[in-house]
Homo-oligomer: 288 residues x 2
Amino acid sequence: MGRSSPVDLEAAIGVFDSGVGGLTVLNALRKALPNENLVYLGDTARVPYGTKSAVSVMRYAEQAVKALHARRIKAIVIACNTASAMALEHLQNCYPELPVLGVIEPGALAACKATRRKHIGVIATESTTNNQAYQKAILGIMPEARIQAQACSLFVALAEEGWHHGELVEQIVAKCLKPLMRGSESEGALDTLVLGCTHFPALSGAIAKVVGSQVILVDSAATTASAVKARLVSEKLLNPQQAPGQLSFLVTDGPERFARVANNFFNEQIDAAGVELVDIQHHTATLK
Amino acid sequence: MGRSSPVDLEAAIGVFDSGVGGLTVLNALRKALPNENLVYLGDTARVPYGTKSAVSVMRYAEQAVKALHARRIKAIVIACNTASAMALEHLQNCYPELPVLGVIEPGALAACKATRRKHIGVIATESTTNNQAYQKAILGIMPEARIQAQACSLFVALAEEGWHHGELVEQIVAKCLKPLMRGSESEGALDTLVLGCTHFPALSGAIAKVVGSQVILVDSAATTASAVKARLVSEKLLNPQQAPGQLSFLVTDGPERFARVANNFFNEQIDAAGVELVDIQHHTATLK
């Protein structure tokens, strides 16, 4: 493994997202790894990432992971599809001594396991869609898969504003997914749809109504948590302590807003007073 | 005026916004001041500002204006309601030798001129609404005014995605404005509504349908341009050149996306190749 010093097994897993969306992954990590300490960093000062360029996302992600690395950390989870699509390899190169896992590969794997007719849809932010990370990851596992991708940037705002259910939300979702469903008609029906943004599970009820019950919805949260657990087991990094893991939260802006919006995504109550404000923008990134 | 050197009258007016919304103000400036050179800076690397904290917005605005100030600039227009609400005074203190104008005072003035029964609604981003800048500015002009404010953060995403018209947009607008309209019923009807975010004029047709034709919609664009013109006249800063003014565009991220989305807001075609990418995040701000 090439580590220069013994690993601190009680150290936390650092979980990074552009804002609150990664809390859907944090839920799954809590469930899969209840004894692990978790420290979550939301880069709320620069959210959203999904409409920003690759260079900006790589730089922001590097600064965020640098801030997490300065804490007691034994592994990093990039709980943001856009950052995983654009910055995972770069971050793995920056921290070769740490497991650094993203959400795209686990999401692609879940889709390939779920699909019956190998016709997979992917909805994501504009940046993730343009980057084609899901398409590449799915084709890497299942070269014969047919894939249709659709950017749905509006879903991020809907999810953050708490617009998750109801007829109007379904109409908005239907309008956004129209090109995807039209393609599905002409090229044969999709059977699986990847929710390729951590915000989107909040809208899964509305999305399911629009695409129909025959389409299996897949998100990365549970499979990412499984992948993290498998990696900790294989690298003998599990926390030997049997007590419930500690949770801590860092944000780069607005702890009160974070705590309020977080309740749309996270299963446990977050108290704004316990959310620490950190400044990461001064961290030098290798990318200018 | 206390300027240490003669003013360069052919210098540009620097226009700053968090992203593309300020282009609605740029349209009005082009119309009111056709011979002035204008340089527009959109902080697309950190857009939106409307859900961010006062300290972050002040810091971002200071960095942006510093970047504009490094060019040939004779005046600054803060063409963003959130930045005007939170950072105008700070920026005026940073650059006492330059006219630095925001959009809130002109918007408040326009509302006070338009209102018949002194019952004014304000819709804006979450940050502008919480900051109460419009409320204070309106009450400063018209102390007896009754004001109702409502945050409509979702409108920013709608405007940027090009969702401006149609039945579905009207339904979304109606849902967002429901608390405002309900208050309007119980406290007597609003007669004037301030579009307190530079993105919102893109949705004005839908907003007008929802609030009804008896409500006058007011935005800051035209009144801000008039205020800028009056200030240039009074300070003898008008460009003596009679040729059409030059336009230039700076962004902190994604020139291609900027040029594409800009077409939803700006009356002239913007070519991505002519949009300059600048890095302002390294600029030291006085606020940490």
